[in-house]
């Protein structure tokens, strides 16, 4: 055994971190529709979040198999400590590399930057434990407040919603300014490349949140990981004495390790290690001039005199050759007291109670009482469960091909902060796309196959007759009818109206929002509301929708459309021709959603729409 030669030096962890971060970026970049080829699920990292893995099933009262890797990370931490934090977590990696990039090379530039053992004194470090207890308490009461602290969803959102759009903007700037050059060089693929801009609502939060963390990172390395991250706290709780932990042999007490420890897990005076703060990055292994540090599972080594090891599990006695140690420094932070833990958890329960008592909170919502713009992605589970399961990772928003999914501010109430909303004016829900459900790590949006998703109605379009060009001004505008992929907008000719006006056929309207997106008015006169949205936990959307009399067959399905012949003939509805779109049975077509429209019937001799006498 020659551990001094076999040990893995510190740079290994950094290489792993870098690789992990790059892989994370690539996966995020590959989270596009139509599906790009990826070796693993796009939510590979999200599945590993230990906090989400524990609290999402707790809050949702529903076991989510996809989060099993997070449980595995937790179990592995029993043996290997917070290796996740030091080696894998893209959040920690981001902070580490941002620090290097902004403030120099050393991962932790020594004592003056807070690398010292007590950096992040006890109380500050305890924030993460108390936050964890609070979130646990809330989750116990079925409320998801943990999205404020789950690191992988947070960092996913940061890159997907803030960094990616800005990079796209820059790239597009380069492409646009390079257009003459590409034209001259005859490079049509670059000349016409259009990186459609991604835009997201409410990025100020991410900007301030991560700006603050960066500022804290400047003050102290990995401040988030040391003091704030509740997932780190969870891992710390199981990493009190991991099997593979930092062990020190022939220590010369130079305190180099303490200065290089990015987590401040080593007391510079006593050389004691607080294992729950150690992220196993092995910076200390590389830093140690006498190569006395190992992360071996066995206790000590033949070369290391047992009496010199400083394997600290509890409160080992201070070496008496350190007379100048102040008690403040020497006293390494303890865990918060049981009272503090219980108090925080109780506070979480109380918070959940308050949130549930809010008059407009959607935690109590049934699907019939949603606020007007609260249009959820297709296949979103019923609202209370949705709020419990949604991690706010932003994957659905990243993947949405029309950029239609946007993070909510207060549209869905305080509990719905940052959860995805369909914003049709920004982009419609594409009938052939089911990407949001496929990437959702917790199945808050169900991973529906396309033939199911097509029936997962998200809302209903409503014509605002006071502003509609056709209704209010008698103008021949048919854009909503033209763009509707479901043939749900009909044009109806009415007495006293110069032009046929649009009405929505409730049975065919999916709420996709093509109409709202393309309404030529500066303020759309046809808007989607979450009316009649289907929100199902397990049942088949198709069967449910069919049972409710809905019909979302698309033209390319070769559906029997009244207009295309047979059925129209069979029902003798040919004379209804021009306006009789989607009316399957006489009397069936006029629904509540049609406003004052009546059964379309073209009187003999009247012209088809668009023609003049």
């Amino acid at each position: 055994m020659k551990p001094s030669r076999k040990r893995i030096p510190g740079p290994w962890a950094q290489a792993a971190q870098a690789a992990s971060l790059v892989f994370f970026w690539l996966l995020l970049l590959g989270t596009v529709w139509p599906e790009a080829w990826l070796p693993v699920d796009t939510d590979f990292f999200l599945q590993m979040d230990p906090l989400a893995a524990v609290l999402a099933p707790l809050a949702g009262r529903e076991w989510t198999a996809a989060l099993l890797p997070g449980i595995a990370i937790l179990a592995l931490s029993l043996a290997a400590g917070r290796f996740f934090c030091g080696w894998l977590c893209p959040f920690g990696a981001t902070l580490t590399f941002a620090r290097r990039l902004l403030w120099g090379k050393a991962p932790a530039a020594g004592g003056e930057n807070g690398g010292s053992g007590t950096g992040g004194a006890g109380r500050t470090r305890n924030i993460k434990f108390l936050a964890l207890a609070l979130m646990f308490g809330a989750a116990l009461a079925g409320v998801n407040d943990f999205y404020w602290g789950t690191p992988i969803p947070l960092i996913t959102r940061f890159y997907a919603l803030l960094i990616h759009p800005v990079l796209l903007l820059l790239a597009q700037l380069g492409l646009t300014s390079g257009q003459p050059l590409f034209a001259a060089l005859d490079l049509p693929s670059l000349r016409y490349l259009d990186l459609s801009a991604r835009r997201f609502d409410g990025l100020y939060f991410l900007l301030v949140f991560f700006g603050l963390l960066l500022w804290l990172e400047r003050r102290q390395p990995r401040f988030w990981c040391r003091c704030l991250c509740p997932a780190g706290a969870l891992l710390a709780l199981v990493s009190q004495r991991p099997l593979f932990r930092r062990r020190v042999g022939r220590c010369s007490r130079c305190s180099r390790c303490a200065r290089f420890c990015p987590m401040g897990a080593i007391d510079p005076q006593t050389m004691q290690t607080r294992h729950r703060e150690c992220i196993a990055c092995r910076a200390c292994v590389a830093a140690c001039p006498t190569r006395a540090v190992t992360f071996a599972p066995w206790k000590g080594h033949a070369e290391i005199p047992p009496e010199r090891t400083a394997d600290i599990a509890g409160q080992a006695d201070l070496p008496d050759d350190l007379p100048n140690v102040s008690p403040r420094i020497a006293h390494f932070p303890l865990l918060p007291s049981r009272r503090a833990f219980l108090g925080s958890a109780g506070l979480g329960l109380l918070l959940a109670g308050v949130q549930r008592s809010d008059a407009y909170s959607l935690l109590n919502a049934d699907n019939r009482s949603l606020p007007p713009h609260c249009i959820r992605p297709p296949g979103a589970v019923p609202e209370p469960l949705f709020l419990a399961l949604c991690l706010r990772c932003g994957e659905c928003m990243k993947v949405c091909p029309s950029n239609a999914l946007q993070p909510a501010w207060l549209t869905a109430g305080f509990e719905g902060l940052f959860s995805p909303l369909l914003a049709p004016r920004r982009g419609p829900c594409v009938p052939d796309c089911n990407a949001c459900g496929q990437v959702c790590p917790t199945q808050a949006i169900r991973p529906l196959p396309l033939e199911e998703k097509r029936w997962a109605r998200v809302g209903t379009a409503v014509v605002l007759q006071n502003t509609c060009l056709a209704w209010a001004w008698g103008r021949a505008c048919i854009v909503c009818q033209e763009v509707c992929p479901y043939g749900a907008v009909k044009l109806q000719k009415m007495e006293g109206f110069a032009a046929p006006a649009p009405v929505v056929n409730n049975e065919r309207c999916y709420g996709c929002g093509y109409c709202e997106r393309h309404c030529p008015l500066s303020v759309p006169a046809i808007v989607v509301e979450p009316l009649n949205a289907l929100r199902l936990t397990e049942a088949s959307y198709r069967r449910t929708a069919l049972a409710a009399g809905m019909d979302y067959t698309l033209p390319e399905d070769g559906a029997e459309h009244p207009e295309t012949g047979s059925e129209a003939g069979a029902h003798g509805k040919r004379e209804a021709g021009p306006q009789g779109i989607g009316i399957r049975k006489p009397g069936d077509g006029a629904t509540a959603a049609e406003g004052s429209g009546h059964e379309p019937d073209a009187p003999e001799g009247s012209l088809p729409p668009g023609f003049s006498p």
Partner: protein, 307 residues
């Protein structure tokens, strides 16, 4: 002969020449062959019918000179296949590309500003595939503002400005290659209406301006030099998006006059099961009045052939 008489004869001869110049031009045409028809209608499968129709009106060399930049404007706004008749048949576009190359065209582009998801539109319409098979990188949906330049329409009645595709303004030849379909606001969507796909903001044509008037305004700037209307399938009802009644005339209409081409399509097929006159399509009537073309096709020469 006196000198005076000689001069008289000379003057008379000159006068005769002057009077008969148009006649001479006709003679020249006769000498070159029979006069070209104003409109050609060819029956057949999409590709051959396209070629036959264009050949009837003088062939592609009449429109495209060697080295010229050509923009072809198809319909590919909808994420549906050719059978739906909401997009131009890809083989019509494919044949036009080949003909342009045969005529010696320099740069050829197939451009549109589509309605639905661009990937699906370009893919499902089949148009991108056929373009890429011809020459990769020529078929594009242009939506970003940077591809458009603001241009005035001084002759316009209402819409005096809009942003046009830079490539279209720079093109020597614009070929409109729409599919024939009904349109619930404009009556029909053919080679004039289809040019709405060449501008950045077409919303204003519905909201701020009168649609028919602004369609004609558009023609003041981007009137196609050649109109090839794909009537192999015609969406006779419920256009432009369908689904509607698709009839199968199996024809392609070509003309150097887009108004005449459109008028021919209007009269050749039944819309909503009835006969429609070109004057009943407001933008054709306006275009005719503004002398952008002729809708009085009964006064024009139409040649019908079978490919």
């Amino acid at each position: 002969m006196k000198r005076r008489d000689f001069l008289k004869w000379q003057v008379a001869g000159l006068g005769l020449l002057g009077v008969n110049a148009p006649l001479l031009a006709v003679a020249e045409k006769v000498f070159d062959g029979p006069p070209l028809p104003d409109v050609a209608v060819a029956k057949g499968s999409p590709g051959p019918a396209t070629r036959a129709a264009v050949n009837q009106i003088g062939g592609m060399t009449r429109f495209v000179k060697p080295g010229q930049k050509v923009v072809i404007k198809p319909n590919m706004s909808f994420a549906r296949g050719p059978e739906s008749a909401v997009n131009t048949h890809p083989e019509v576009i494919g044949e036009l590309l080949v003909m342009c190359r045969e005529a010696g065209a320099g740069k050829i582009l197939v451009l549109d500003h589509v309605l639905q998801d661009p990937e699906l539109c370009l893919g499902r319409s089949g148009i991108r595939d056929i373009c890429n098979a011809f020459q990769p990188g020529i078929c594009h949906n242009l939506a970003a503002e940077s591809f458009f330049v603001e241009a005035d329409l001084p002759q316009a009645a209402e819409m005096r400005t809009n942003a046009f595709m830079r490539d279209v303004l720079e093109a020597d030849v614009i070929i409109a290659a729409p599919v024939a379909k009904s349109h619930s606001a404009a009556g029909v969507s053919l080679s004039l209406k289809g040019q709405m796909g060449l501008i950045y903001d077409r919303r204003v044509m519905h909201s701020r301006y009168d649609l028919s008037t602004s369609i004609v305004d558009l023609a003041e700037r981007v009137k196609p030099h050649l109109a090839v209307i794909d009537a192999t399938r015609v969406l006779a009802t419920n256009g432009p998006g369908g689904p509607g009644n698709v009839i199968q005339p199996g024809e392609v209409i070509a003309s150097a006059d887009p108004v005449a081409a459109d008028a021919t399509a209007v009269t050749s097929y039944e819309w909503y099961g009835r006969k429609i006159q070109p004057r009943q399509v407001q933008h054709l009537r306006l275009a005719h009045q503004r002398k952008l073309g002729r809708m009085d096709i009964e006064a024009l020469v139409t040649k019908r052939v079978t490919a």
